[in-house]
């Protein structure tokens, strides 16, 4: 009577439980992987469906904002560095001229890079993989 209540006495109940739990975990794991695989095949379709109508305006707006801010940031940073160099070295106005031109170049580079037309940082002539 007392022995039947103690799991240690028999030593059978607990491994049995353990094995069943493992089976269930394996099964869940397998089903989860199958679900992920089937989701992955369906996901691109779903995203394209959404792009079609409502998101088009928002995405175009976001793209415009992105490109213009990249360009402006390049010029602003070039002007800022030039002004700082002039102030430190007293080479006014040459620092501003040179760095403004460099900033213009960097702005163009930023725009092309964020549009995916030029290689990423440190990647050389390898263009960014298209999404």
């Amino acid at each position: 009577m007392a022995g039947s209540k103690r799991p240690d006495g028999t030593g059978e109940t607990s491994p049995g439980h353990q094995r069943r739990a493992d089976d269930r975990d394996d099964d869940l794991e397998r089903r989860r992987r199958e679900l992920e695989a089937s989701l992955a095949t369906r996901l691109p379709d779903r995203l394209e469906g959404e792009n079609g109508t409502t998101k088009a305006a928002g995405v175009g707006y976001a793209q415009a904002f992105k490109l213009s801010s990249e360009f402006i940031a390049g010029i602003a940073v070039g002007a800022g560095i030039g002004w700082f160099v002039d102030r430190m070295a007293g080479t006014s106005p040459w620092g501003l001229i040179v760095f403004l031109l460099l900033g213009f170049g960097a702005g163009i580079l930023n725009v092309l890079r964020s549009a995916g037309l030029v290689a990423e940082f440190g990647q050389g002539d390898k263009p960014r993989p298209k999404k």
Partner: protein
């Protein structure tokens, strides 16, 4: 009567709530600080309560929290690989903070934290600071290869390197300007169109009929603002992931 009181910029004023002055610096607790605290509390409270159940079959709230987690995790894994996952807590906190602050700003009479460039610029500086520190700590001076693209003729090298450096420095600027400008412009537009409704409505019956147009516009703009708020938080997080990728793998 309310027509001359419409001031689209007024909503961005910073008002001290608890004035604190330490050694000549103004460290007051302002309405901006208040809404930052609110954003942090809302974001962490949402995640805490949503995940406290830990059900195998998630409730709606838990499902939302898990989807956000999965979304950011897959974004980071796509951009920076599995090594990038050590930055997951950082990117996730950043995303949740920006998203919550943007969405809170959509409520009437709420202050939009991310419509001030100093906030977004601090966040961007934090990101770029982590990129630089981690890049140098992990790769040492090889991190500088980031600025030297391969396959460039030696004659052009100084020019290209200078442009690359300016381009790198402009990253936090463009990151912060984009978020700040989007939120600022959106809120001003919304306010201006709502102001039209009020001033036209004060002009009698014909004005009331005319006020329908800006009202419809304000409704449409609110929807657009909701999209922009989510989109900009997403863009901020995606670019953070891409910059972190540069710190992890400076030369591919």
């Amino acid at each position: 009567m309310a027509a001359d009181k419409v001031d689209p910029i007024h909503q961005f004023h910073i008002n001290p709530i608890v004035p604190i002055h330490v050694g000549g610096y103004d460290l007051s607790f302002t309405n901006s600080s208040l809404f930052m605290v609110v954003a942090v509390v809302v974001a962490s409270g949402f995640l805490f309560f949503a995940t406290s159940g830990r059900a195998l079959v998630p409730t709606r709230m838990q499902s939302m929290a898990e989807m956000t987690y999965d979304f950011v995790a897959s974004m980071l894994r796509d951009a920076a690989g599995n090594q990038g996952m050590k930055f997951f807590p950082f990117v996730f906190s950043l995303f949740m903070f920006v998203l919550t602050a943007n969405l809170l700003g959509l409520f009437p009479y709420f202050f939009t934290v991310t419509s001030h460039i100093i906030i977004t610029f601090s966040l961007a500086l934090l990101v770029i600071g982590i990129v630089i520190v981690y890049g140098f700590a992990k790769h040492g001076f090889r991190f500088l290869k980031l600025f030297v693209p391969s396959g460039v003729p030696l004659v052009l090298m100084p020019l290209v390197v200078a442009i690359e450096i300016v381009s790198f420095v402009s990253r936090p600027v463009s990151l912060s300007v984009r978020l700040f400008a989007n939120m600022l412009a959106g809120h001003i537009t919304l306010k201006v169109f709502s102001g039209f409704v009020v001033s036209l409505g004060a002009m009698g019956v014909a004005g009331m009929a005319g006020a329908v147009l800006p009202l419809a516009m304000a409704v449409a703009l609110s929807a657009l603002e909701l999209l922009v708020a989510a989109l900009q938080a997403y863009v901020f997080a995606v670019l953070t992931c891409m910059y972190l990728n540069d710190a992890l793998h400076p030369s591919h």
